[in-house]
């Protein structure tokens, strides 16, 4: 029997047959709830929620970023990089995806690629509210030599 978390490990999400659909507001609510779960360090539950959301949304970059941040929180930087790269492919103009990718690359020891990703995020969002500021603060953190 197919369940909500039947997403394939490769990222090919399988959408289960359901007698209803989610509205945009409900999808937003579920994403925000998953982010809260992650911030409460209930990483397994947050991962289940993000994975279950994948087949239900057309633009999958946000759940993929969520999955990447969970891997990042677990210290699995290689898996986080995979998720964030996948998110940049889903939404090539997402500053948030590039900012997270830059952060994960930096923590994974790929400093040059990290700088490129953070620079790209800053270019995509010069105003800063959608990931540009995050890229700038991560860059400042890296430049301070604290990592």
């Amino acid at each position: 029997m197919m369940t909500l978390d039947d997403s394939h490990p490769s990222g090919d999400a399988i959408r289960p047959e359901m007698p209803f659909d989610f509205s945009v507001e409900e999808k937003r609510f579920l994403i925000e709830a998953a982010l809260l779960m992650r911030d409460c360090k209930r990483l397994d539950e947050a991962e289940t929620m993000f994975s279950a959301l994948l087949p239900w949304v057309e633009d999958q970059h946000l759940p993929r970023i969520g999955l990447g941040t969970i891997s990042f929180d677990r210290g699995d930087f290689d898996e986080a990089i995979e998720h964030f790269e996948s998110a940049t492919k889903d939404a090539s103009n997402s500053a948030l995806a590039y900012a997270h990718l830059g952060e994960a690359l930096a923590f994974g020891g790929h400093r040059e690629e990290a700088d490129l990703a953070l620079e790209k995020a800053t270019q995509l969002d010069p105003a800063g509210e959608s990931g540009g500021n995050m890229a700038k603060t991560v860059k400042r953190f890296l430049e301070s030599g604290l990592l």
Binding site: S94, K136, L146
Partner: protein, 105 residues
């Protein structure tokens, strides 16, 4: 004399107290950073006194203590800077995520 009293409580406030009462509230991390910095500067301001007091006990004991206190202050400042930076990163991450959720279609 009858009239409206501008200071009905009769209490006198110093300029510093007035400034403190009108200052905006700090977030937890900023407050923590400020306390750490104040402790560090307080420790450093006591260093010359300590140096003078203990100066006669040994040839370099005052100098050693001052050196140790300065090193301690640098360490505290570094920690403070780290907390502040991490806090900024966390805030910018949260703001960006919320902005992305709001614009989600």
């Amino acid at each position: 004399m009858s009239g409206i009293s501008v200071n009905p409580s009769g209490q006198n406030y110093t300029a510093q107290q007035l400034l403190q009462s009108s200052a905006p509230k700090e977030s937890g991390w900023n407050k923590f950073g400020r306390i750490v910095s104040n402790v560090a500067s307080g420790v450093l301001s006591g260093a010359p006194i300590l140096g003078k007091t203990f100066g006669g006990l040994g040839a370099d004991s005052g100098f050693d203590q001052q050196y140790e206190l300065i090193r301690l202050q640098q360490e505290i400042q570094r920690n403070s800077q780290m907390y502040s930076t991490i806090s900024n990163v966390s805030k910018s991450k949260h703001d960006a995520a919320m902005s992305a959720v709001r614009n989600f279609k």
